[in-house]
């Protein structure tokens, strides 16, 4: 398998001081769903925005390597990047209402994506929009094309965003918390849709989420982020079977699992809060919350391999007994 998106040692700073991403590395293989998982402030959204070259003013990115389908993204001009964005790589966000223009109809916003990138007539673009709306499970697409965003429910709006992202037949879809604002029932429908589209269109998906339930059900590979670093990478099956980083283990113990509830026992939890990382910080960012921390954690931390596609950032050696396939 070859990687569609490769990110190595990505650094993002804002105003030269705050380090939002500190050397994150991951690869999204062709046709797979890769999840970036972590809590708020861990840098997962900033990572996605850096890939898309959409950082807010004052944001600065640098990377040892950042390539998309063989193209070096760091060397592209704004113009060249704009040609790629929305075309070969598309993005959807958490709150579809803020990503849609309230003053234009769904149809005109969808058609613009295609005419802007690929040219062609508006009528042909509207046909394509209607076809894709059907594909993402919107009934009566003809009527919806003439409606405005506020006339649609949250679930429908997110479907419109997905259809819009597919207008130019992209290779990579970046989805930043696409179901967080939706009801659980609608969430299941949207995630199922994304899984089907991945199969039908041969899409690669970079899915950003804080929800380990979503990760388990849709991801092929996972990168766990903490304080701007990828602290553990593994296949989904292995990450859940044999997590190695203390943060990953802690995160998994926090999630209540239906059917396995012990009401009188407390949930696992991680004490403390995510620390603010300033310039000149060295060592493990998780050490202030970690039960295994000692003085070596203030020095540089090695990335330890724990199998073929599994590594993590910790002073502790892997638990090989746990890593043996069951």
């Amino acid at each position: 398998m070859s990687a569609l998106l490769e990110v190595e040692e990505l650094q993002v700073t804002f105003g030269g001081r705050t380090a939002a991403v500190r050397g994150a590395s991951f690869r999204v293989e062709k046709g797979e769903t890769h999840c970036l998982v972590g809590e708020s402030g861990c840098g997962k959204s900033v990572t996605a925005l850096a890939v898309m070259s959409l950082l807010a003013r004052g944001g600065h990115r640098s990377a040892k390597r950042m390539s998309f389908a063989g193209t070096d993204l760091t060397s592209l001009s704004d113009r060249e990047m704009a040609r790629l964005r929305g075309n070969r790589m598309a993005m959807i966000f958490q709150e579809p209402m803020t990503s849609l223009n309230p003053a234009f109809t769904i149809g005109s916003q969808m058609a613009e994506v295609l005419t802007r990138h690929k040219g062609g007539s508006r009528a042909a673009a509207l046909d394509r929009a209607a076809e894709l709306m059907g594909r993402v499970g919107i009934t009566a697409p003809g009527m919806r094309l003439g409606q405005f965003p506020h006339q649609l429910s949250g679930g429908l709006r997110q479907r419109v965003m997905i259809a819009m992202a597919l207008m130019c037949d992209p290779e990579l879809l970046i989805a930043d918390e696409p179901t967080t604002a939706l009801d659980v029932t609608v969430q299941a429908q949207i995630l199922r849709l994304l899984a089907n589209l991945k199969r039908e269109f041969g899409l690669s998906i970079l899915l950003i989420t804080h929800d380990l339930g979503i990760v388990a059900r849709v991801a092929d590979h996972v990168s766990v982020m903490y304080a701007g670093e990828v602290v553990e990478r593994a296949t989904t099956a292995e990450l859940f079977r044999a997590p190695q980083h203390p943060y990953t283990r802690g995160l998994l113990s926090c999630v209540p699992v239906p059917g396995r509830v012990q009401r009188d026992k407390p949930l696992g939890s991680i004490p403390g809060v995510v620390p603010a990382i300033g310039a000149g910080f060295a060592g493990c960012a998780f050490r202030s919350r970690c039960a295994h921390a000692d003085e070596t954690c203030t020095r540089a931390i090695p990335r330890r391999p724990a199998g073929d596609a599994h590594d993590y950032l910790c002073r502790l050696a892997p638990d090989w007994a746990e890593l043996q396939p069951a």
Binding site: V184, T185, A188, A216, R217, C254, P258, P271
Partner: protein, 316 residues
Amino acid sequence: MTAAIEVENLRCEFRVHTGLMSAEKRVIAVDDVTFSVPAGSVLGIVGESGCGKSTLARMILGLLKPTAGTVLVDGKRLFDLDRKARARLIQPVFQDPFASLNPRRRIKDIVALPLEAQGTFTRGEIDRRVAGILERVGLSAAMGERMPSQLSGGQRQRAAIARALVLEPRIVICDEPTSALDVSVQAQILNLLADLRRDLGLTYLFISHNLAVVEHVASEVAVMYLGRIVERNETDALFREPGHPYTKALLESVLTPEPGRGVPDIGLGDVMPDPANIPPGCRFNPRCRIAVERCRHEAPTRMVRPPQGMVECHLA
């Protein structure tokens, strides 16, 4: 055992204008809701957005007058009590600790406000109580000196809990108390709420859209759909053997962290529930995959479901 909350045939209607020329419409947000919560237990309320769960909470808190029906809190009619007495009895904890705390006051002043509003506590007594409750929810005295913007989401929710408990109420209405928080913090707050309930003998009404969380905290669960409770039962029974097809769909849509299971087809279709247009017959019928002819014109009646529950479905 006395019931901490008793709700009978509760109903809430809103009148809304849908457009310039269109007629006034009636939205029935809560429709004939009846339940009781024994003292010291936790009733979980689940349902999608717009199902009326927050409207129900507001009526139980006395913030909204019901169109019909009665609410008894600790055996007393809420509307017979004045605000101060109500505040000593029942308190809310809301979803968003960023919105529910005054950004321009220190944490300890925010927590002290319910005591000051009573007008019967001395300054010394107020300071003593505030210090005690802050410590109890895991906030240091130094945190009390800070402004809300200087606290993390979890710490703010602790402050909101402290404010709710400082008057030593019997009952706390938790409306999505952990939905805005990260999972590691959510677990801390859920554990704190569980400890406080045990130690202080509190009763909770716990509203959430997260069924996994509700299963963890509640002893009994009510499922709301378009203003009605369509199923209610002891938590274990409801999760093991859901009777209503909507409860089943809700349970199936919970994505447990089990790799390889994929995302289930919950089969609800893309008709979204609209409280301004409640369908005739069973209100769930347009989304129900097992609906039969009868469901389209005849509303189901409340049926007993063992061990302690009820369900409203022709086919349960």
